[in-house]
Symmetry: C2
């Protein structure tokens, strides 16, 4: 989908815009990753979240190894068309460390502390845990 | 707060990491902006969200003109320490267009459509609406 109302990838760094995945039922913010135009188009056409891995420099079909796909319920765009919000149904765990959400650490004045329990065994998530 | 458990700004583009603000009560994702180390430190020390405006190339004390501050309830860091999630109490509207959330447009197969009502008159939000 490349109409004037869609995300403006020319505003992104190296053609990538941040995309936030939020659990459509609970509202929990699951992760933040990046999409380029191709990843976005594949997300729209497949109904499954596809990101662009900047470290691996390739498309990243979320759940391709783990089965922990994100079924996209709704795609929202922000006022400047330079950020994307996916409301998803998350299979298993969003985080490669086994947590439901990648945001499992809270910052406190003493440092960070884990505020969630692992949802799955990290060994079952990714063979290659690098985003 | 610059301990080993905090965000790793060296992973950001030009020292900036994406920061998502979420309404702590409703779970609504309000906006996505960027922080550099200074903005982050000021957010921690003041308890109010401070971002770094990449377009204006300066710190952006959210609500500095509008009064629509974000009182920070909790700061979460993701697994890779390169994304920040603020759980906030939002005064007024997060969006300079007057919507409660910047994510007020849904993408459909026909383009985008507005799915929210304005929360405040945009004239009352920012004198300078540029992020």
């Amino acid at each position: 989908m490349t109409d004037v109302n869609g995300p403006d990838f020319s505003r992104g760094t190296q053609g990538c815009l941040p995309a936030v995945a939020q659990d459509a039922k609970t509202g929990q913010v699951l992760m933040l990753a990046y999409m380029n135009q191709e990843a976005f188009d594949l997300t729209v056409s497949s109904g499954r979240a596809v990101y662009y891995s900047r470290s691996r420099e390739r498309l990243w079909h979320k759940g391709e190894e783990s089965g922990h796909v994100q079924v996209v319920q709704q795609i929202l765009i922000d006022c400047d068309a330079d950020a994307i919000l996916l409301r998803v149904e998350q299979e298993g765990a969003a985080c490669h460390k086994g947590y439901r959400s990648c945001f499992f650490r809270e910052l406190t004045s003493e440092g960070s502390r884990v505020i969630a329990e692992r949802h799955v065994d990290p060994k079952d998530v990714y063979k290659n845990p690098k985003k």
